[in-house]
Amino acid sequence: MIGIGRLGGLALIGLPFLWLGLFFLFPLLIVLKISLAQSAIGIPPYTPLLTNDGAGLKIQATLANFALLASDDLYLRAYLGALGNAALATALCLVLGYPIAYAIARPPGPQRQLLLFLVMLPFWTSFLIRVYAWIAILKPNGLLNELLIASGLIATPLPLLNNGFSVELGLVYSYLPFMILPLYGSLSALDESLIEAAADLGARPFRAFLGVTLPLSLPGVAAGSLLVLIPAVGEFVIPDLLGGPDTLMIGKVLWDEFFNNRDWPVASAVAVVLVAALAIPILLAQRFLERERVA
């Protein structure tokens, strides 16, 4: 490391590790610790992991919380419900986001920056407020129903809110930019001469897209899909505000365990299982991305 020095080099490499250690790994270990405790009345509302009864340190840990997750099928259904909703949202974001990213990235010119800015514009308003705004649009006497009734298309309001539809809509709406941005990155980095070469070799535009553009944008597809899928699985605000009685998503269950039941150990166990379940697809996708980068 010329110019930075050995210590500086270590600091440069160490800083992200320190950051992740302090703000990701350490909190995760606390959650893991709580998941091994038992619920108790008091502050904090769980039994300590280490106790000293005078005869020495004793470790008090139980897997009962995880056993509960396995025995009550509510949790499994909530995990699967969240995964299903998130997977559908990811697929819809991909189908919607790809053409948008393509339209922004492919024609070169100054309009790119403006369009990209418009994609990011919603971030300037609080996520919570934007989800709330959908209630005003979707409710029985909301904007959309009023408009449809006024135009004579329907006579009675459609049930648009507090059901699977509104949850899915909220997920797609909220996470679409996270799909568009990495796709834009992939597509705008694509060498124009590769597409010209495909055309030169006799490929019509659609064949050139399937043969060259699409495969070369797969890293963007993978990155965008992960950025949508992972937070969408654990999403709590959207099912809480837009969901109905049938909406079963694990983020909502986790919230209820924490704040309604005040059962921190079970809530922590739910969180640990969620992190573990998501870490596996992330690692798989990372290996895929790594391979693509080398190629």
Partner: protein, 341 residues
């Protein structure tokens, strides 16, 4: 009959005329070079022949068929890109087969054709490699094989050797000529390197500022340039500007009135240097510096009125000269070319 016919083709980008009323024909089986400095419009012309740009005016006819309005994928033309533009997600065989797969060609015939092309460019063992695993020279061969795989009527080569280092460039140049002779395809090469154009092409078109300046054989372009630009761009040259007076009629072939503005062009290797004044015409000069290039050296001279001259001679002859040496510069009258443009 000409294979490629370009008739009055123009292309503007904004207010700039990238290609301005260019007309030329390329004979079947030729190795034709489009030579010019960067920004002269040669690449734009090539891209119009390939179909990536549409001319504002004019027609492009390939083998008797007007292709001016056809998209790239419908033209009987293939191009070797300057960057090679190999598909990074496909192996070498996949790259070569890409064009063949676009036609409904039988799988076995594709494999046979890919093998044939790999053998042609001496890459038979590399079919399974990815482009990033190849050296620059190997990529260049793959790009050539891919462009030739569909047996185009016309192969366009955009600065085919520019990305290679000097030694490889000389070898590859010979290989390109060899391959062109073997397959018999008409090659249209775009280059900014006069040496490359002179050594490869059977005919050269010189372009400058979007216009076609001159067309001819390499010898014509080098020995008898018709304009100052071509003389200067074609190689190392001494230019004397002045008026035509009596006594220079030995340079004729150019029927000019006396008093006409003209330039005398003399290639630097045509100058003779001697310590003693030679019989006949000569110019007194002093050596200002010597640039050693290995086998040859460029001797920079200052003559009367501070005029700078350049002479190219074998380094063994230049060795006995030094800065400040007084010499006499002479040349054979036949070696001077009178240019009026």
């Amino acid at each position: 009959m000409a294979l490629l016919e370009i008739a009055g083709v123009s292309k503007r980008f904004g207010t700039v005329a990238a290609v301005d009323e260019v007309s030329l024909t390329v004979d079947r089986g030729a190795l034709f070079a489009l030579l010019g400095p960067s920004g002269c419009g040669k690449t734009t012309l090539l891209r119009m022949i390939a179909g990536f740009e549409t001319p504002d005016h004019g027609r492009i006819v390939i083998d008797g068929a007007d292709v001016t309005a056809l998209p790239p994928y419908a033209r009987p033309v293939n191009m070797m890109f300057q960057s090679y533009a190999l598909f990074p997600h496909m192996d070498v065989a996949g790259n070569i087969a890409f064009g063949l797969r676009q036609e409904k060609m039988d799988r076995r015939r594709i494999i046979a054709r890919v093998d044939e092309m790999l053998a042609l460019v001496q890459m038979a063992d590399y079919g399974g490699r990815r482009p990033h695993e190849l050296s620059g020279g190997q990529r260049q061969r793959v790009a050539l094989a891919r462009a030739l795989a569909k047996m185009p009527k016309l192969l366009l080569l955009d600065e085919p050797l520019a990305a290679l280092d000097r030694k490889l460039r000389a070898e590859t140049r010979l290989e390109l000529i060899g391959i062109q002779e073997r397959v018999g395809t008409t090659f249209l090469v775009v280059t900014h390197d006069q040496e490359e154009a002179l050594s490869m092409a059977s005919r050269i078109a010189v372009m400058n500022r979007g216009r076609l300046v001159e067309i001819g054989t390499p010898a014509e372009i080098y020995e008898r340039p018709g304009s100052r630009f071509v003389a200067d761009f074609g190689g190392d040259v001494n230019l004397f500007e002045g008026e035509l007076t009596a006594g220079f009629n030995c340079l004729a072939g150019t029927a000019l009135p006396q008093g006409a503005e003209a330039t005398l062009a003399l290639r630097s290797e045509k100058l003779h240097l001697s310590r003693e004044p030679p019989a006949g015409f000569s110019v007194a000069a002093t050596v200002s510096s010597i640039g050693y290039l290995g086998g040859v050296s460029i001797v920079h001279l200052t003559a009367g009125e501070g005029r700078a001259l350049r002479a190219r001679l074998p380094s063994t002859d230049a060795g006995c000269l030094g800065r400040g040496t007084a010499v006499w510069v002479s040349w054979s009258p036949d070696d001077g070319v009178v240019i009026t443009r």
